[in-house]
Amino acid sequence: MLRLEHLVKRFGGLTATDDVSLTFPAGSLSAIIGPNGAGKTTLFNQITGHLVPTSGKIRLEGQDITGLRPAAIVRKGIGRAFQIASIFPSMTVRESLAAAVTAHRRAAFGLASAFPRRDVAGRTEELLHLLGMEGVADRLSSEISHGDQKLLDVGLALALEPKVLLLDEPAAGMGPEERWQMMATVQRLWKSANMTLIFIEHDIELVFRTAEVIHVLRYGAVLASGTPDEIRGHPEVIEAYLGRETEEEPA
């Protein structure tokens, strides 16, 4: 589904992405982990078109999408949810989702009927049910809990029916209970929508329990890839996170 081929990104003297080649099969649930500064978000930014790789290719279903503008990449079917929930504060949860669906159905300029359109409203109810957010549907986005806002953020991306969904730290800023609920929801969404899901996370336990495949980045390069069990015992991965006695963690 999504393939990264020898991706390199340099910022002046700094190599943020160092010859990364990864494959994400259709329908897979993968995680990208690594210590701070390993270049995880930079990788996401290149996939979504916000950064242009210095060299290398990104292919979606075989098609080369390297360097395309973000709007075009969204249209090709790559959705993204953000680390800090990027939502519409003055709109209710229902309205926000409906607006996203409206945009997806190319009705953003519709003047002939009231918002939301009948078919849009139906799809919105589906999404609300999928996300489990019926209870807060009519609350203002700015007034729901942080966890719900992150979920809404994911919901907005889902409304575009993406083939590939990138989640940037879905559990960030959540308490211990909430994180597990979030990841359970993520898994449920992944199964029901039948899409390729890639997420970045810092909480290793969460990653081990949720992902099918884990890719570990370090200093911009792929350190290891494999199933949770394979990664768990991988000596270099352990060293990357815990470091040797005298080594300092990159900021």
Binding site: P70, A71, V74, R75, R80, S86, I87, F88, P89, S90, M91, E95, A98, A99, A100, T102, A103, H104, A107, A108, F109, G110, L111, A112, S113, A114, F115, P116, R117, V120, L156, A159, L160
Partner: protein, 337 residues
């Protein structure tokens, strides 16, 4: 009522309002009320159309008065052309109104497509620059526009549909119609899917773009619609004064429009109209005691911005919400020494 389609509901309300206005007009003894309301209608159109930009799209335009004035000028200039009146006869006034709206719409489209590329402050300045450019052009083309003096000599207003616009009551009814039509148009836009897009752009333009919305097109379209609706206000003024003046495109007209929106409240649909009325009240009440209306207005603005921190209608809404949430704590507060 709540089961009704929102558009139908808005339309019914508009019809009821129009009937109400006409009845008031028929019943009113003198012309003071009619004239006052006509003035409020014109200001209301200016302000509600600007509300589409400021309140719903988050676009702050400093030069909105240009489209207001443009409506009046096109209307007046078209009707002052003998060939036009001769050709259109009884349809002259409606057609002139249509031309004013379309012409202004084109003007707004042009300016909007240039300005919408820029962000906040620069957008605001550019709209102001275009407004002042407009004023310069009007003042420069003395032959066509009368320059500084404005369109003089009166505007011919052939009767149509049984309305003789020279009569105060008919003039008032026509203005009421334009006002209701304009406000209805704004209402329908805000209720539509496009209205949701406007709010998306206002709240989080970046995310809206991520969702595939062409935010530039949204902004240009909003600007064009707002300008077109503002032109109706200019037509009302032109009919009322039988002239058109460059002052209608002045910076203070734009500034007062923004202030009226803030005074009434940004966060509700009706806020700006509340602001129009409030401003008029402040003005008229001050005039009873002194000529220093500017001082009163200035102090009123400072009060709203620094003390209330939001418009009247917004403050009222928040107050009612707070009361509903904790009636018991209020009682406690009163009980405590």
């Amino acid at each position: 009522m709540s089961r009704m389609h929102p558009f139908a509901r808005a339309g019914l309300l508009a019809l009821a309002a129009l009937c109400g206005f006409v009845l008031v007009g028929a019943a009113s003894p003198g012309t003071w009320l009619l004239d006052t309301l006509t003035g409020l209608f014109a200001a209301g159109l200016l302000v509600m159309s600007l509300h589409l930009l400021i309140g719903y799209t988050g676009l702050i335009s400093f030069g909105h008065a240009a489209y207001y004035a443009s409506g009046g000028y096109i209307f007046g200039m078209v009707l002052q052309t003998p060939a036009f009146v001769a050709a259109c006869g009884a349809w002259s006034v409606p057609l002139a109104t249509l031309l004013a709206v379309c012409g202004t719409g084109l003007f707004a489209l042009l300016v909007g497509s240039i300005c919408a590329r820029l962000s906040e402050i620069y957008f605001a300045f550019l709209t102001l620059a275009f407004q002042m450019l407009f004023v310069s052009i009007i003042q420069g083309l003395v032959q066509y526009t009368g320059g500084d003096q404005g369109l003089t000599g009166g505007i011919p207003r052939p009767a149509f549909l049984g309305l003789d616009l020279v009569q105060a009551r008919d003039r008032y009814a026509f203005s009421a119609f334009l006002f209701v039509a304009g406000v209805l148009a704004v209402r329908l836009i805000t209720l539509s899917s496009f209205g949701a897009s406007l709010r998306m752009v206002r709240d989080n333009e970046r995310r809206a773009a991520f969702l595939g919305v062409n935010t530039y097109a949204v902004k240009v379209l909003a600007f064009t619609a707002a300008g077109s609706i503002a032109s109706l206000g200019g037509v009302v003024l032109a009919v009322f004064t039988s002239a058109a003046y460059p002052e209608w495109a002045g910076w203070s007209v734009s500034g007062e429009a923004i202030f009226m929106i803030m005074l009434g409240g940004l966060h509700s649909f009706w806020g700006p109209l509340v602001g129009v009325v409030a401003m008029r009240v402040i003005n008229d009440v001050t005039l009873l005691y002194t000529t220093h209306t500017e001082l009163a207005k200035g102090l009123a603005i400072l009060f709203v911005v620094l003390v209330l921190k939001r418009g009247i209608l917004d403050w009222l809404t928040d107050w009612r919400k707070a009361r509903r949430k904790s009636p018991s704590t209020k009682e406690q507060r009163h009980a405590a020494p």
